[in-house]
Symmetry: C2
Subunit: 371 residues, 2 copies
């Protein structure tokens, strides 16, 4: 239903609509110079369960609005343009990873929230999972990729800034940390005879926060999940498993923070008579945006009298996959209260209009620039 | 099977065996003076799942051995004697609470590990749940209660002491503590904008340990259970529920420690932008043993050349329920490595023999004393 609606809007904006083998919706517009690669821009329209109405939709409908505006004003570009609505961003950047070639055969068999496998989902929305290679693109196939998106954090609103110019999508490293102590009777084991894994975990969680906040920068570190075993009020926990996640634009900084945390953990372990074991679960490498495109976004905002701020994207986006193929830029607009992935997610109409106007001007500037 | 075996041993020790309405096994022996109330002694033979062979069994078989020794040596006592094997100690002191009248009708409908309700379990082992009042005893019905038990902690072994003279069974207070912060995206929420309930929980767990260890004494405080919500590596926890348990012989000390912990929680809450809510789940009031019986245990040990130490029992025992009815004494012997509720639970044969000899002498001393 939503996809049908979006395709109708695309056709109304004089775009030629197709669905690629991965299920991405692409609206094409010819350029004056047919031998130039297209400028790609868009976002996604899928949502997390219980999510809001702005994450992805602002950038997708904003991109169509840009095409509509060009059509209404009979503005031609040198490059062909391609407006894209990536499929299943929230379920693991499936559409954009099919395009940059990172999507694996194995992932196609994973069952998503819908109950369908990724493979069956692609078929269901009009793609062809047997022919994914046809959706794949290589460096040089696009002139650039641009994405407008809500910030999802509260920085722009708090600092009363109109436009965020994204420096890059942060890298995300996730470890599971296992702390082994010794489980014992909470009544008969004196305080000085304990090897309490949860007490050591408490020290560790504080150490993570201390290390992360002791270094200047916009990196973040989070312990979001914890389990204590056996997990009874009257038993000293003998084992704890918790998650550690660190995000930053700079993979070296993530590594430095991790080493500091690891070293603090070893000290806590020695002092508490417990052991720490770190297991790397997932690594997303940082995806910097293109310096030249950042400047063109800044110029566009300046012409419109809008204030800007360079900032990382703490959340993942399809732009991170496109950044591996082509020069990429990303435009943020304020999220009220920094709330996202929630029905309370909200962005003001004037902020959305500002973002779309910046996107429009940036598309035109990229078209004229020597990328 | 185990109960049949125990009853056979009782009969071999010339005891007259009966099962009371609560399912407790009692072996009676007449006294020279029929108007005196009986001296009760024993323990339990049930075990936690995956438990060991000493918790309860040492005291139960030791009590029968005392009766056997008296029979073999034709020793008569002034008081009648009653050897008791309480039923379902591990499942909530069911047998002893039926005797002191604390067992409620409502509890009878709880389903135990066996799959049976407590009510059906009592019927299954030969009791009569419709006539529990007949099992109930009042103050004055017994001259005294004595229980031999393994320590379950590692104090006696570590300090190379033969016999622990129990000062009392500690009170146990258990609260569930709910910490409410604000759940948010772990990538887009800067460190200084977070209301991380798990970080506050970590500070709280350390505060519990700091408060408990800052005061001299043998009290203990434990956080054994923790849950963080929503509990994903990429989401800042908005809510944590954890357990707080404090044990001491002195209810006033428990209250003082709790007030200190509560006040630290409020400070952490203010500093972290989270709230703490304490909900009392269970309170077992402390059960001191009888001062005169402690002296008689000490005298018995001294006569046998055994070293002793006055100590609290950090674990619960049937003795705590008997202490509400009658002067009560409890004798501990060393647990190797302080391990209990585990197949690795172990006490040396010579330590068990020491304990039984102390029990025998204490029974005889109590018989002669003016209690």
């Amino acid at each position: 239903m939503g996809r049908e609606y979006v395709m109708e809007l695309m056709r109304a904006a004089k775009l030629t609509v197709s669905i690629d083998a991965a299920g991405n919706i692409i609206g094409h517009r010819l350029g004056l110079k047919k031998n130039l690669p297209p400028i790609l821009f868009g976002s996604h329209t899928d949502s997390v369960p219980e999510g809001g109405n702005y994450d992805g939709d602002v950038g997708s409908l904003g991109a169509i609005e840009v095409a509509q505006t060009l059509a209404e004003n009979n503005i031609d570009t040198n490059h062909p343009l391609a407006v894209i609505v990536f499929q299943n961003e929230e379920g693991g950047l499936i559409g954009s990873r099919a395009i940059n070639g990172e999507l694996t055969e194995k992932e196609l068999d994973l069952v998503s929230r819908s109950g369908k496998t990724i493979r069956d989902g692609i078929k269901f929305i009009g793609g062809d999972p047997t022919n994914l290679a046809s959706a794949r693109r290589k460096p040089g196939d696009f002139a650039a990729y641009l994405e407008l998106h809500i910030e999802q954090g509260g920085v722009l609103e708090r600092e009363k800034i109109n436009i965020g110019i994204v420096e890059g999508i942060v890298g995300i490293n996730w470890w599971d940390v296992t702390i082994e102590g010794f489980s014992n009777h909470a009544g008969t084991t004196p305080m000085d005879q304990r090897h309490d894994a949860l007490l050591a975990a408490a020290k560790f969680i504080q150490a993570v926060n201390r290390v992360v906040t002791s270094v200047p920068g916009r990196h973040v570190g989070t312990v979001g999940r914890i389990q204590a075993f056996p997990g009874a009020p009257n038993v000293i926990p003998g084992k704890v498993i918790l998650s550690l996640e660190i995000r930053d634009l700079d993979a070296t900084k993530i590594e430095t923070l991790y080493q500091k945390i690891h070293s603090e953990a070893e000290q806590i372990g020695k002092a508490s008579g417990v052991t720490f074991d770190f297991k790397e679960i997932n690594v997303n490498i940082p995806a910097p945006t293109d310096q030249r495109i950042r400047s063109l976004i800044a110029d566009s905002a300046k012409e419109l009298g809008l204030t800007t701020k360079l900032m990382p994207s703490g959340a993942g986006h399809d732009a991170q996959d496109m950044a591996r193929l082509t020069p990429t830029g990303m435009i943020f607009i304020p999220s009220i209260g920094g709330i996202s992935h929630s029905p309370k997610e909200y962005s003001r109409a004037e902020d959305i209009a500002n973002g779309v106007n910046v996107l429009l001007r940036t598309v035109l500037k990229v078209d004229k620039a020597e990328m």
